[in-house]
Symmetry: C3
Subunit: 274 residues, 3 copies
């Protein structure tokens, strides 16, 4: 029984790259279902794609995850296959896989994909998605190869990590950042509701949100319908993190909050006491 393959890349849809990888998968794992997690993550932005994969992984069918955001293709970065309780992750050794692998409990085995027998011979060395990663994913998904046949095992501490920003609590304030703006303009922070609870900020409170030197008073509600059209709100989003939204609008534009921008939360009364 062939396993499903979840495929993520930054190839976009303007060329035939995604289609060619699908072709390779269909040839080598003809009975595997392929799920496109997404292919329009910002070019070469490992962090953005890694966070998307981390948000998605628990909703993807167990099997094989093929992820290719690979600005270092053609350098000596390794190609990895990581075995986990969810299944096998295949991709470049640049941090892309790390948070999703951690999310499902970590890798029980990691190999460096080096065995040329599992690769497609190519005139050039620039399309490892097609020539190296897709064949490896198909071999694992179809059961035609075990992970050890792809190459030598390497210790987890040699893998390139992805450094993600941590939140910081200072007095009554918690500082973090906007780490994802979705296509609706909703801004996810890296601050969890339990971080806020530690400061005594809870659902139902009005929260002071500081972006740059601007303070906004924003109610923490449970859904968009709890505020009027056009008003800002803070809520626990579909992934479980605190997020800023504007009902019927775009929080990124109205609060001036792009990806990576620092954001500080405080309980309303502490903020006004400053």
């Amino acid at each position: 029984m062939s396993k499903p393959i979840s495929f993520l890349s930054d190839f976009g849809h303007d060329d035939e790259f995604v289609g060619v990888v699908h072709g390779v998968l269909a040839k080598l794992a003809p009975s595997s279902r392929v799920i496109d997690v997404g292919h329009r993550f910002p070019r070469g932005n490992i962090k953005a794609a890694a966070l998307a994969l981390t948000r998605a992984i628990q909703y993807l069918p167990e099997g094989v995850c093929l992820a290719v955001v690979d600005p270092g293709v053609g350098t000596d970065r390794k190609a990895l296959a990581a075995e986990t309780s969810w299944g096998t992750f295949i991709g470049p050794d640049n941090g892309l896989l790390s948070p999703a692998v951690a999310m499902v409990g970590g890798a029980t085995k990691i190999v460096s994909i080096e065995n040329p027998e599992g690769m497609i011979p190519s005139p050039g060395q620039t399309f490892h998605g097609r020539d190296v990663f897709a064949p490896a994913a198909a071999l694992i998904a179809s059961g035609d190869a075990a992970i050890d046949e792809l190459g030598p095992q390497i210790p987890g501490e040699q893998i390139v990590p992805l450094l993600l920003p941590l939140t910081e609590t200072t007095g009554s304030m918690i500082s973090g950042e906007a780490w994802w703006v979705d296509t609706f303009g909703n801004v996810q922070t890296n601050i969890g509701p339990e971080d806020a609870a530690g400061l005594g900020i809870n659902p139902g409170d009005t929260v002071t949100v500081k972006v740059g030197s601007t303070l906004h008073s924003v109610p923490w509600v449970s859904s968009y319908g709890d505020v009027a059209e056009g008003e800002a709100l803070i809520h626990v989003d579909s992934v479980g993190l605190l997020a800023l939204a504007v009902r019927g609008g775009r929080a990124d534009l109205e609060l001036n909050l792009g990806e990576g921008v620092a954001v500080t939360l405080a309980a309303k009364k502490s903020a006004t006491a400053e």
Copy 2:
């Protein structure tokens, strides 16, 4: 035998939203084929997506239709499952499903999806595509649940309709609107050939097309090849409505006809007699 699922949304392809819904469907209905009807309809534009679904429905394999354009997520709008002779439609109660359901002959039963057993528990309340609609679609497609298990039945007259503009005949003129500009710039009107025939306008005639205060003389032909490169034409389009096109060009730009713009047709001689 698992039924195919046709999936339409306004999620776009920049995030992992579409992929996550595919993941949920693959987990819960692993042998259902999933057809992407389209995911780049204008954000929150219920009418545009509803019209697209109506144009598409007769070409989609009978089974389950999962449609999510849901600007009211997080308010108290209902989640619907509607049984029809084509199959089951799943989506928000905001008019999105109404014209396609009408197109296939109307619903024989409608339920409000409320049973939490069929939903995915979520920290937030903003991604009903993933947590409410996709699981319901998968349960119906796989045969794991009957529509009645999703929630209580509700009468059809409580469903939110989609108000679509009607055409109006005044003397020798018929007024309607441009209700779809396709990606090639072709402009579909809401005027059917039978409406025109009622005014004595028929294929082969030259038609006066009024947009704003500008009059255009446009031949009603049967295909693009019947006019010269760069010339405008009116024809019955692939859905059966009167549409304006420019051979090798964009009618929307050349005739200044965006979606929703009023357009009036008259037989050439009546127009010149004005």
Copy 3:
């Protein structure tokens, strides 16, 4: 056993066109896997899509190829089905299929799709992807029809060819053109490494690249990692042609090389001797 169908078009993803074709394929060939080669090739640009298909074809599973870039829909251009050793190609007779068919060794039989029994009756004549090509592809893929049932056989010399630019060698220089800029900004030329070798230009050499009146000295390396970040390189790309790239950048912008722009290569010493 139903064959896979590889589907390419210029329909884009803003409308339901791609989804409707998938629907027709799912209805008529319910057990055929469908691979999207790509749908965002430039509108009506037969050459761009034909080259993409030619690059992709060897990676697609043998079966049926459905290709629709069809600016002449609604004229008297023919609809073709071409039998090859790879499988069957279906599409308009405008040069779109020619290079890919040639790449797999040429057609053993070509028919003009004319049999109305295999088509979907339509009110209009503008969506042959849905009404003519998709049903033909599904009939062949499912085995429900042989190619001869689609219409009369026509001789290969009546097919519209695709005229592709040739390279030209003058003294110590070889002139060609940029014929594909991929989404990463890499510029593929129509010059092969064997053409360069004929002039004594080989991997490891520094090559003089002339664009307009500007000369660039570019090293011919085997992969991106062989030059520093931000530097230009020439290499054999993943398809086997000479391509210009900038590590971590866009060669199209930095070398001013759009699709169709002339480019001349010479060995460094010959160039400086000029």
